[in-house]
């Protein structure tokens, strides 16, 4: 039986070594401001706490324990040295409001990271504060809006997103007070230019794209798209989720993107932490750079310092309590130092090699790439529609069964336009042997689907729990233990 930490709780039990012994007999706070009953936090010993959470950890798949080819998420190795670098006392103990005179160490790192990301993306300026990809997207959308407003171009209320786009793109549009307009993707995974021409117009604020796209192919007609949108007075936003595919080989700035974000937790290998944190720095060309959020870091003859709104009047402003996820930025910086220029180019080279190789192995085995005539990028999509039709075993079933084989499942059912989709991203840090083992597992499961479909449909069988009922979870909502 699964015991929560609350099941282990007993009144008055505690981790005594954590007791702060300070004399505070007198209570200077007014009675009516005080809490009447203590919060129901667990009351356990230190060993119980350590054992409980250690054992919870052991129930997770993770990069450190399993191949984790979760498409669009770039689950590459997170170097331990990088974690160490950011977990140094000098960095951890720095209060965010420490004056710059006593913060030159961290500011130097951030400044150099800004420059590095400018170089890597081909942008004029980079601001590091956005705290994940989605906040980077919002930043970009707001900058585009601010630009049009600045030009008294108030009618531009629409932003174009491909049907295959990540959910954050349209959600971001709404959050920025823009209307998301969908544009079709053609049979080869490229944006349909006719469809694009139809939606583009005087209301177009811009377009959000990633390249390679979420269909996992390189958008070949990027120049044409850029021309169409720019000609209509719109701007181009680059969603950097897929930068791992082209790192050091093609720069979004060179593709005419005006503004972009990076996902440092993907391309720059900062740990995903069971859901986060990330960092989504935003870069912009000369046109849009003035609108970047604050604060940014500058270097003067007196050392490094902050740029705030007083010197960046066009900025869309602040997006976080302090300076975003500095600890993640330091990790990305440390990682990039170890890679260097060549290391970065090798990232894209081997991420792409691994994806193409695995796609080939799977297609040789009879699986169906979503775009069989295209190169895979750093990832690729397969459709299990035919398998599902023939055996009744769905992509979801395949995914669950893969867990029993010791592999985290790929991203399932995304992009939505590919039926029974697996989006598979092996990343550059996995070995050929691991890819082969994954392909072998897929082949074995296909055989199971043909001979014993129930085995697959009832999977997983070797995890801490069997397949969980998500419908019940919504119907009988149970979101706290009390």
């Amino acid at each position: 039986m699964v015991e929560t930490i609350f099941d282990k709780s007993r009144p008055t039990r505690r981790a005594v070594a954590q007791r702060v012994k300070e004399g505070f007999a007198q209570q200077p706070l007014p009675e009516h401001q005080l809490r009447s009953a203590p919060p129901m936090l667990p009351e356990v010993s230190e060993l119980q706490a350590v054992r409980h959470f250690t054992n919870l950890a052991r129930k997770n798949f993770s990069i450190d324990t399993h191949f984790y080819p979760l498409g669009s998420c770039t689950m590459k190795y997170n170097p331990r040295g990088v974690h160490r670098a950011a977990m140094q006392e000098g960095f951890l103990n720095r209060h965010p409001l420490t004056p710059t005179s006593h913060s030159q160490g961290v500011l130097a790192c951030l400044f150099e990271l800004q420059e590095l990301l400018q170089n890597v993306t081909g942008t004029a300026q980079v601001c590091l504060t956005p705290m994940a990809g989605a906040q980077g997207e919002l930043t970009g959308a707001l900058m585009i809006k601010a630009y049009h407003t600045d030009n008294n171009d108030h009618e531009r209320t629409e932003i174009i997103v491909p049907t295959a786009a990540h959910g954050t793109n349209p959600a971001t549009a709404s959050m920025a007070g823009l209307i998301a307009k969908e544009v079709e993707v053609d049979a080869d995974g490229d944006v349909d230019l006719e469809s694009l021409k139809r939606v583009v117009g005087p209301k177009t604020a811009g377009i959000m794209l990633t390249n390679p796209s979420t269909c996992a192919v390189f958008e070949r007609r990027i120049q044409a798209i850029s021309d169409i949108v720019h000609d209509a007075g719109g701007l181009l936003y680059y969603d950097g989720a897929n930068l791992n595919a082209i790192l050091g080989r093609a720069r979004p700035g060179d593709m005419q993107f005006d503004v972009l974000h990076l996902n440092l937790h993907k391309t720059f290998a900062t740990p995903h932490g069971g859901g986060g944190p990330g960092a989504g720095p935003v870069g912009a060309n000369e046109l849009l750079a003035p609108y970047l959020p604050t604060p940014m870091v500058t270097k003067t003859e007196n050392g490094y310092g902050w740029l705030d709104r007083s010197v960046r009047p066009k900025s869309i402003g602040r997006l976080s309590s302090f300076m975003g996820n500095v600890g993640i930025l330091l990790r990305a910086y440390a990682y990039s130092m170890m890679l260097g220029a060549n290391g970065m180019r090798n990232v894209s080279a081997y991420a792409t090699l691994n994806a193409n190789y695995l796609m080939k192995r799977l297609s040789n085995a009879g699986f169906h790439p979503a775009y069989p005539d295209r190169r895979a990028t750093h990832e690729f999509a397969i459709s299990l529609r035919q398998e599902a039709k023939a055996t009744g075993v769905t992509a979801m079933d395949f995914a669950k069964r893969l867990l029993d084989y010791g592999f985290h499942a790929p991203t399932t059912y995304f992009p939505l336009l590919i039926p029974e989709c697996f989006l598979i991203e092996p990343t550059e840090t996995e070995t050929k042997e691991e890819l082969d083992a994954f392909a072998d597992a897929m082949i074995a499961i296909l055989k199971e689907a043909q001979t014993d479909p129930d085995l697959v449909k009832q999977a997983p069988h070797q995890q801490p729990v069997g397949r969980l009922d998500e419908v019940q979870a919504v119907r009988q909502l149970d979101v706290t233990a009390h």
């Binding site: 008055t12 129930k59 997770n60 170097p79 140094q88 349209p170 093609a250 069971g274 944190p277 691994n354």
Partner: protein, 445 residues
């Protein structure tokens, strides 16, 4: 090739399988014109050893001294077990628990976190985090406007005593959805309830303790807002809730949405991030709550297990109509905070909060022994206090800094005569000697 495992033989055999001559061929769909074949301004890679040597040097530059700074980020002690466990590979290098059966560790932990936060705030439900306190407030305001169907207005009242960065962040984010922010004036550092024109407000924000460390009259504010059907959004320091009346109990019916920054719960200051924002609400509003939510359910054998639930609110399903665009959140920090709260328990948290209150009051008592130092506001404060130093704090701050003391947050431009004032804070880690040193350095000046 750091972190790339391929041997020459691996590469050759993979290329052979692919029937191509070189990796470069794999990039043949990229138009040549936009290819770049080097990154000339980026130096060569270095070893982990050299990188850590460099980073150790940088980190040492920032070792800045005894911290009396607060203002939204607090120097609390973090038990060693917290990060030892949070740094385990299975927590550190997993992602959002999309495959529930392979992520029961993260999911159960989030469920436990939700329970703790809900109890701490006296609300029904919490999410699995948003980015930070400031963005949590922005999300809370957007949510309030969605939730409050009674009101057609988009006018949200915000206290003048709100953390200035929170205000700035909220401004950047929410105004694009046509929300009007209006500042409520302050008297003596407190929201001037009688001045507030609540008519037509969709929501009222209450920060408590407020940015200046003062305790607001939350009961009155809450009741008055509810009288006109405005929602109440509480912005709270979770550590304070070990002592203070939780937002769910404010006034007659409690706040409707509660948010804040989780940093005090076991997160290192670390230049202010990563931390995490939390959002709690009543069960009736749960479908408008943004962010991940873990729920308990069963497998086919009736075993309990945990999944992400109510996903239909989220961007990956609902897309443009989602409650928020948030995807990656601050999971690792939630992990740390959950372990932290577990190690402390209700009693431990109460003692730490009390110790902070005690130490700051002790500091204030001590410093105001000096003739030129005085408290700016006369009302009760929690663990931060605005002190007036009777002179510009600029030189004073620099002198203290050079002697290894971070004396507080200068309020220049933020309050009346702010250039003479600093917001000071002494948490449980400050000792009597630290307070003495502050006093001595001040008198040496």
């Amino acid at each position: 090739m750091p972190f790339i495992p391929h041997t020459h033989a691996d590469k050759e055999s993979m290329l052979e399988t692919l029937g191509i001559a070189s990796i470069a061929d794999l990039f043949d769909e990229i138009p040549d014109r936009i290819k770049c074949d080097s990154l000339p301004d980026i130096p060569d890679g270095i070893s982990e050893m050299a990188m850590l040597h460099h980073m150790a040097h940088r980190a040492q530059e920032d070792a800045s001294g005894v911290c009396f700074l607060g203002a939204g980020c607090y120097d609390h002690y973090i038990p060693a077990a917290v990060w030892d466990i949070a740094s385990r590979g299975e927590f550190l290098t997993a992602y959002t628990p999309y495959q529930a059966e392979a992520s029961q560790g993260t999911l159960q932990l989030v469920y436990e976190f939700q329970t703790m936060l809900a109890s701490l705030t006296a609300m029904d439900v919490a999410n699995a985090s948003v980015y930070d306190g400031a963005s949590a407030l922005a999300e809370a305001i957007l949510m309030a406007v969605r939730v409050n169907r009674k009101s057609k207005s988009r006018r949200v009242l915000v206290p003048a005593s709100l953390h200035p960065s929170y205000l700035a962040t909220v401004r950047s984010i929410v105004t694009h959805q046509g929300i009007e922010l209006e500042l409520m004036t302050s008297h003596e550092g407190l929201t001037a309830v009688s001045d507030v024109d609540l008519e037509n407000a969709v929501a009222v924000v209450v920060q408590h303790p407020n940015f200046l460390g003062l305790l607001e009259d939350v009961d009155v504010l809450t009741n008055r807002a509810h009288d006109v059907d405005a929602l109440v959004i509480g912005v709270v320091n979770p550590m304070s809730l070990a002592l203070l009346k939780p937002p769910g109990d404010w006034g007659d019916t409690g706040a409707d949405i509660v948010c804040g920054d989780g940093q005090p719960l076991g997160i290192p200051m670390a230049s202010g991030g990563p931390s995490f924002g939390f959002l709690c609400t009543r069960m009736i509003h749960v479908r408008q709550l943004p962010g991940r939510i873990a729920g308990r359910t069963q497998d086919k054998d009736g075993n309990h297990g945990f999944v992400l639930t109510l996903q239909a609110r989220e961007q990956h399903i609902r897309r443009a109509k989602a409650t928020s665009n948030i995807c990656t959140n601050q999971g690792l920090l939630v992990t740390a905070a959950t372990i932290y709260m577990t190690l402390l328990g209700p009693q431990g948290l109460h003692e730490i909060a009390s110790s902070c209150v005690h130490n700051t009051h002790r500091l204030v008592d001590r410093l105001t022994e000096l003739p030129n130092v005085s408290m700016r506001f006369a009302t009760p404060y929690f663990h931060e206090c605005v002190l007036d130093f009777g002179e510009s704090t600029e030189a004073l701050q620099q002198r203290m800094l050079d002697n290894g003391i971070l004396p507080g947050y200068p309020l220049t431009g933020l309050i009346d005569k702010g250039d003479q004032a600093m917001l000071v804070c002494a948490t449980e880690v400050r000792t009597e000697q630290d307070i003495d040193r502050y006093y001595q350095e001040l008198t040496n000046g």
